[in-house]
Point group: none
Chain length 546, copies 2
Amino acid sequence: MNERIRIYDTTLRDGTQGENISFSAEEKLKIALRLDDLGVDYIEGGWPGSNPRDLRFFEIARTVPLRHARLAAFGCTRKPGGAAEADPHLAALLQSGAPVATVFGKSWDLHVTRILETSLEENLAMIRETIAHLKRHGLEVIYDAEHFFDGYRRNPGYALETVQAAAEAGADAVVLCDTNGGSLPGEIAAALRAAAGRTGGLPLGIHTHNDCGLAVANTLAAVEAGASLVQGTINGYGERCGNADLTSVLPILALKMGRAVAADLRKLQSLSRFVSETANVVPLHARPFVGRSAFAHKGGVHVSAVMKTPEAYEHIDPALVGNTRRVLVSDLAGRSNIAYKARELGVPLEGKPGDARRIVEEIKQLEQEGYQFDVADGSLQILLEKLTGRFEPHFELESFRVTIEKDREFPCQAHATVKIRVNGKQEITAAEGYGPVSALDNALRKALGRFFPDLDTMRLTDFKVRVIDGDRGTAARVRVLIDSRDRESLWSTIGVSEDIIEASWQALADSFQVKLARDKSDRSGQPERAAQAAPASRIPPQGEQA
Amino acid sequence: MNERIRIYDTTLRDGTQGENISFSAEEKLKIALRLDDLGVDYIEGGWPGSNPRDLRFFEIARTVPLRHARLAAFGCTRKPGGAAEADPHLAALLQSGAPVATVFGKSWDLHVTRILETSLEENLAMIRETIAHLKRHGLEVIYDAEHFFDGYRRNPGYALETVQAAAEAGADAVVLCDTNGGSLPGEIAAALRAAAGRTGGLPLGIHTHNDCGLAVANTLAAVEAGASLVQGTINGYGERCGNADLTSVLPILALKMGRAVAADLRKLQSLSRFVSETANVVPLHARPFVGRSAFAHKGGVHVSAVMKTPEAYEHIDPALVGNTRRVLVSDLAGRSNIAYKARELGVPLEGKPGDARRIVEEIKQLEQEGYQFDVADGSLQILLEKLTGRFEPHFELESFRVTIEKDREFPCQAHATVKIRVNGKQEITAAEGYGPVSALDNALRKALGRFFPDLDTMRLTDFKVRVIDGDRGTAARVRVLIDSRDRESLWSTIGVSEDIIEASWQALADSFQVKLARDKSDRSGQPERAAQAAPASRIPPQGEQA
């Protein structure tokens, strides 16, 4: 009964079918590395036959070996009336270099006759020949039986014939999909058992959608009925109402059902956050297990009860999934985290006894205002240096002025004037840019260039803007995240303000301060600093592929 | 088997335990009227013993008769060692004037001994005496067995004693609560059956929380096991991860399980929207059944299939829950999508045969540049009008100037000057703002206000910024999305540029153009235009009940 449940993540493929979810190839790679680090068994990277971006992902993924997960490329069965050998989509699967091919085919007769407009027999041949072709090329082949449960409801005989065909053709696993998300747990269990009777002991998988709010429940029902492969996405991202949310499925399997799962659950919360940040989507506070409110306690009596007896009000220990209790009255979280982080960033915290507490309070206050230091190591380093009196600014702002002008339908023009002071010397420069932040960046770079000629090795590699409280319209606070790199490393900085220019300035200034601080310590032969140890630095520099 | 399932809504009480969810007494009344109109059986209005706002709600609610629902006031069992007659909380229940009292008591021995710090026997007496007292005063009494499932897991004997005590004391129904939200469907069903054996045929209810993402599934499992009263909230609002979402539970019970439910499901989507608007919380697009993405289709092949055979890709007809199909116009999409969308937006495409093709090409080109029209109906409408020569601008930009100034560590200051032309008349105004976009918004609004006094019903409700090609650093293109609303509807607009101010301006200007176009067609009594037919605009006017 305790067969290990294999986890198949499709955040990078089905997840991107969600409204507003999209990733560049580089972003996909970053997420894949985090998924690998969590411990999932399979990572579906994309549909190489369908778009160039996915193809590029598989290209760059080949250069970065995964430690645990197998990479899967997604595709569909060969065209009706065609030949598997000549099918360009199947060729793309082979070209992708992924060791696993996941192909979907039709299980619902309605789809065969009305959508594909082919015969039921030809559809079976498509399934058989596609799988056999891919097996001949030595791939592990997972067969996704699209619309299996709807098909089984309307024409059980045919639906079962399709999965039997897949099994006979040599598929390594057959995944039953509730593509439209309309099935109930009892239906899932019954249909899965019926499929098991026709697939000769082959591992069965489950792929659910959340159109009834039951994606997690349906996944669990399938596992109870015998499925041993679970498909889902981080944060449940996916088409319409989303896919089964692995951030719920994994802890339930492991912590509630006692099933073996090769995943380090303590990394779940930070992975969830990382994926939503990368997608630039506001994380759902109420998300089970990993949401910010998942272990939040409100109300006086309640809170004192939680402190006395956590199990009275918490269904699991939040630390098991990397989350923390949020008691909306006082501190608690954090001091040891901060100490850990400070060590990692090379900023010693020892000092007066109250220091650590004061620093935690300060950081909490800033996070309340929208800062998020877990994704901005560079700014955290500067903040810790400031709070411990160790910060040595390499430049100071005297003032800036940014002007944006637009006339009729001509493009905007932006220019900036920046006045800084370096070692008592003032410098004032002006520059244009593609927009106000670009103008500011150019002007600052020009001003600093007089003092620090090495700056041209530094590039801003990513610029993200997130509106924190968008319901305040244009008066909303915004958070700007900037990723920067030079030849050696990557670092991230953050700014928060109601004024997007102010927020951008903070992140920009921090980024330059980090760079200058590192260059200085490099010159003086000090040990490696902080930002170089940031997790993002496993990614190869993008410039090399440009 | 087809006993009617009674629906007990607790949006106004347990829903407000959710982070960021709160309602004034007047807002509660508006929601209560909408719930009554939907057809729910019970509306839990609040906890009159716990706060004055809830007391006031019951006062004003007495003046507005409900047509269908019974109003319930919430409270807890008498104090340990006290007398029911002398308990001020119980007195508040009677004073509230609500015909139904819902009282919760402890079913988990741990809570009795560790949190209440009383004896197991005294807890049973508290349950018995509280219920008997309220029954003597002629109320319908619903007993909420708090932490029943956790209690049953640790000490089944005692948990069952508590519900037996409630039944024997004369409760009209006993509701089993999964207060911490940690139970699985199988546990729920088994414990409910055990409780049924001790409550002598009394109606049993179910109250679940979503901490495992299973609140809906657990509710359904309870109904299958015999529960006939379902507690939940609209949109699943509630403490931590929320309560069972009635917007999923109701359609599943009625449409999938064939259970009788007295609710007009066609009003569900607008009720969901109304509650989130009243709570001033951004609605969850991926919400099953009622979310904006719940019946959204993306991808060309897929879309043409949906048009041919809706049941192939939709688990129910969206109209059954008052929702609509949305075709997302994306770069994969072809001509049939645009034609469909244009019809939906009320912009006729007929004309020269090449027109549709030209429009598709144009949209593809813009999407290549970063526009995303699937999330910006308002801008798509304007674009289609422009491309078909139907666009009538309500104002034209002459010029704007935005200046952002910062001195040392003082906050930025932003101001904007806007010069526009309306019907040949020029207007120039200036305004400050929280940042450059806010300043621009304020200045434009001020300038337009001279010509269009109705503009103050319009609000920008969300402002999103996404960097498209962040790897170009501060020269990256940004996409700005603005959501706006007035009393009748919601619309979204988009702008894309390397200059964030330019992108914001495009989205801002489009938003005002959409608003003005709609106001004009309203005044001239013309048939419904574009944005009115947009899916979001099916919101009923909120004003009617104010």
